[in-house]
Symmetry: C2
C-alpha cells in the first residue's frame, strides 16, 4: 500500500482532500501545523477529522509563525476583515505558509519513504492567496525533486492538489458523497475555542455560499446569521 502525507488543517478543504486520498488507496499520514494561529479550534478539528477518517498516524508540528507576524491569522493586533471585496491579497494571508507546510510535509514524507503529498489548495472559491495556484505547486514540485535524498535516488515526489480547480460546491458535494461529517471542520478565521464561526469573514462567507450552492444543510454554528 502506498503512503501519502496529507496536510490537514481542520478546515473543509483539507478534510475532503484526506477523504479523496483514502479513496485512492493511500495509507494516510496526516500532518497538522500549529503555527500559533489565533484560531485554536482548527487543531482540535484536525484531530477529530484525522480520527474519523482513520489515518495511520497524525503529527502536529509546532512552528511559531506569530513570531514573524504580518498576518491577521497570527497577530491579534490585525483585525480579520469581513469578506474580501477588494481585488487584492487580504491581510489574512500568512507569509509563506503553504511553502512552510509543504516543506514540513516533504521532510516527513522522506522519512516515511513516501513520495506522495496531498494539499487541499483551491484556486476557485478562495481568498486570492498566491500559494494556492497551480503554477506555484508546479514550482514547489520541481524544487522538491531537487531538494531531497529520495528524489536523488530516483523517486519522483508528487504534490497532489485534487481540489485546485473545483468550486466549493463541488468540494462539498464530493465530501458528502465520501461520508465526511463537516460539522467537525472549522473554516472561520476567527472561530472561538469551541469552533463557533463568526459568519462574516471571507472563509465563512465562502463556506456558507458553498453549502448553499450544493443544496446541503450547513452544519456550522455561526455567530452572525445573514
Amino acid at each position: 500500500m502506498l503512503k501519502a502525507v496529507v496536510l490537514l488543517s481542520g478546515g473543509l478543504d483539507s478534510a475532503t482532500t484526506l477523504a479523496i486520498a483514502r479513496t485512492k488507496q493511500y495509507e494516510c499520514y496526516a500532518l497538522s501545523i500549529d503555527y500559533n494561529q489565533r484560531n485554536r479550534s482548527e487543531l482540535i478539528a484536525a484531530q477529530k477529522v484525522a480520527k474519523s477518517l482513520n489515518v495511520q498516524e497524525q503529527q502536529i508540528i509546532k512552528v511559531d509563525l506569530a513570531t514573524f507576524g504580518g498576518s491577521a491569522l497570527t497577530d491579534k493586533a490585525i483585525d480579520v476583515p469581513n469578506a474580501n471585496t477588494k481585488n487584492s491579497i487580504p491581510v489574512t494571508y500568512v507569509p509563506a505558509r503553504n511553502t512552510i507546510m509543504l516543506s514540513l510535509a516533504l521532510a516527513w514524507a522522506e522519512t516515511l519513504d513516501c513520495y506522495d503529498i496531498f494539499i487541499g489548495v483551491n484556486a476557485v472559491d478562495y481568498s486570492g492567496y498566491p500559494d494556492c495556484r497551480q503554477e506555484y505547486i508546479d514550482a514547489f514540485t520541481k524544487m522538491a525533486n531537487l531538494a531531497t535524498k529520495t528524489a536523488i535516488e530516483g523517486n519522483k515526489i508528487t504534490i497532489h492538489t485534487p481540489l485546485i480547480s473545483w468550486s466549493k460546491e463541488k468540494i462539498i458535494r464530493t465530501g458528502i458523497s465520501l461520508g465526511i461529517d463537516y460539522s467537525m471542520t472549522v473554516s472561520c478565521y476567527q472561530a472561538d475555542t469551541y469552533g463557533l464561526a463568526c459568519g462574516v469573514c471571507d472563509a465563512c462567507q465562502i463556506r456558507r455560499k458553498g453549502f448553499n450552492q450544493a443544496a446541503v444543510i450547513d452544519p456550522t454554528c455561526y455567530e452572525t446569521n445573514l
Copy 2:
C-alpha cells in the same frame, strides 16, 4: 539601507556568509533554527556570531524535526559516522532541512519588506547533500517568486549563496580578512554542550582540512587529534 535575512547556524560557513552580507551594506536579520538538533552548542554559537557581527535582530525559531527522525543529526539512535568516504548522501542529511529553513527565511523576509535572503550553502567541500546545489537554489528561488504576496506585488526575491562554489580554504581566508573570530563557530555534528568538537566526523574533517589549506591556525578544540 536594504535588508537581508541571513540564515545563521553557528557554523563556519553561515558566519562567513553573514560577514559577506554586511560588506554588501545590507542591514542583517539573522535567522537561526532550533530544529532539535543534537548539537545544541550550534545555537549558542549562532547567538555569539550574531552579536559579534552586530545584526539588527536575531530570531531563533523552533521547529522540532526530531519528530520526523531519519537523520543522525536529530536522532540519537543513529550514530554520526566518521568522515564520509562513500560516494553517497550520508546519514547526517536532515530531510528537507534547507527547504524548511529557506521557507522560514522567506516568511520573515516578507514581513520585513525584505527581498534578499543569504544562505551559506557550499557545493565544493561539503557532505554531498542535495539541497546545497545551485540547481536546487534556482528552483527554490523560482518557487519563492510565485509563493509570496511580495513577489506578486512585483518585488523580486533573491537567494544569495556567496559561498556555493568556494573551497573551504577560500571561505576561511575570506572570513579571516573580514575579521571573523572562528573560535565562536561550531561545525562538528556531535559537539558537546560546550562546543568541544569530535575531530573525526565529516564536518570536523572538512573544517580541519580547510584551516590547514588556508594556512591559518584552527582555533577549534577537538577531542581527537589526528
